[in-house]
Amino acid sequence: MEKRFIYADNAATTAVSEEVLNAMLPHFTKAYGNASSIYKLGRDAQRDIENAREKVAKAIGADPKEIFFTSCGSEADNWAIKGIAENMAKKGKKHIITSVFEHHAVLHTCEYLEKHGYEVTYVPVSADGFVNPEDIRNAIREDTALVTIMYANNEIGTIQPIEEIAKICKEKKVIFHTDAVQAVGHVEIDVKKQGIDMLSLSGHKIHAQKGIGALYVRKGITLPNLIHGGAQERNKRAGTENVPAIVGLGVAIESATRDIAGKNAIITPRRNRLIDGILQLPYTRLNGDRDKRLAGNLNISIEGIEGESLLLMLDLNGICASSGSACTSGSLDPSHVLLAIGLKHEVAHGSLRLSIEEDVTDEDVDYILEVVPKVVDRLRSMSPVWEKMMKGESYE
């Protein structure tokens, strides 16, 4: 078996596409004007920023005036949550609803607000990885300022019932924000049809560069300024615009949303083959619902082994993957997402996440399915936990 290089961690980040890079390049050395300048070089930069804004808006069904560029998805999340919290506190509303398995950009922001006099309700998620909209309905109070639920989970890929949650929020007149960093470009999003009030997205997950994101804020919702200074981003976020990154995001999101169904039709069967192949190993389980998940995502727990070792072994075989193991996070606890769906610590430690795109071919799938069982066998052969499992002894 010839060694291959396979990037199967697109949920972590993606390569900048040639198309995006080519669109960005002139903005470094030729079209380098400051968009606030009056002369043509500056006006051109302003025009290119607004073109990109239109593309981002169009990709999610928003109006360009509702799009604010940020430096990343986390910034968009922080701004949305802390901004609404600040504004609504003036009306005596200091309660926020989120879920237990959000990205840390949302969770840690909520925890920060808890330390500053806000109350946060963390709704649970089901064993197959979904927020129950009725839990949101039941959690909403008179003083609820914001509901924030991720569009698709970054680890297990489950796509949340966003429209239903948005509908409940509208009924109850509560602002609804969604972190759609993992969803944009992989599922059809239309903020108007779906009733989404605010949405965070990130460029580097869809083949733009790292360091660019955007926040959609529905017309009628006002946010406090994030950065005070110049008049950029409609006076809300000062700082000279990162024109190349913004232009790149425009091209990237246009490309990523052009034919989502077509892409998914290629990726899904390959992803399913990976799921079925890896699940042939004994003592494995798929985390998250099989169907209502991102097309390229799979997350499987492999008992008896530890995730970081698995990733290192896969890396030695040219495969880039990810795990919810504690060891990969630098803390003692494994993934909060896997614990939230009810996995035991020792099972969560041995999880494998692959996130593939169209460039992972059928031959690559064959290769992964050859490598994974070998690596798992090797790690299990040296695992005292596996030894006990095979003897039917408890290892807890």
Binding site: L332, P334, S383
Partner: protein
């Protein structure tokens, strides 16, 4: 997180993996909940550790520190093995990331746990000789 070449070498080609049948001392440390378990087997003749093997469930550093610890005690006297510190394991591996230092402590304790078992099997109270085995915190 950066692993040294030596850690990666001991992870990808671990020395002394396996079990020793009828081992003179067997020690196990850690728990699966925390994500690390080391099991160590020793063969001891005339106070000399003639063979050492291990099985480890854990991260790259857990495997590498187990491997290095067995290398450092093989052929040594029990007295020398009792002097093995986690710092010595870390140094022999050209360092470990700060969040992985606990793995080297596990390796040190796994050796002590196996020696403790050896004395127990000999009918000797291990506590005065080996001291208390530190179990990792959950």
């Amino acid at each position: 997180m950066m692993y040294s070449e030596k850690v990666l070498d001991h992870f990808s080609n671990p020395r002394n993996v396996g079990e020793i049948e009828n081992a003179d001392g067997v020690g196990e440390i850690g728990n699966a909940k925390c994500g690390d378990i080391m099991k160590m087997y020793l063969k001891i003749d005339n106070n000399i550790i003639t063979d050492a093997k291990f099985k480890t469930f854990g991260c790259g550093a857990a495997v590498a520190t187990s491997s290095m610890a067995t290398e450092l005690i093989k052929g040594k006297s029990i007295d020398d093995a009792l002097k093995l510190t986690n710092d010595a394991v870390v140094e022999a591996l050209d360092g470990l990331p700060a969040v992985k230092i606990h793995c080297s402590v596990l390796a040190e304790q796994a050796v002590r746990s196996a020696l403790s078992d050896y004395y127990t099997k000999q009918g000797i109270d291990p506590l005065p000789i080996v001291g208390e085995i530190k179990m990792p915190e959950e």
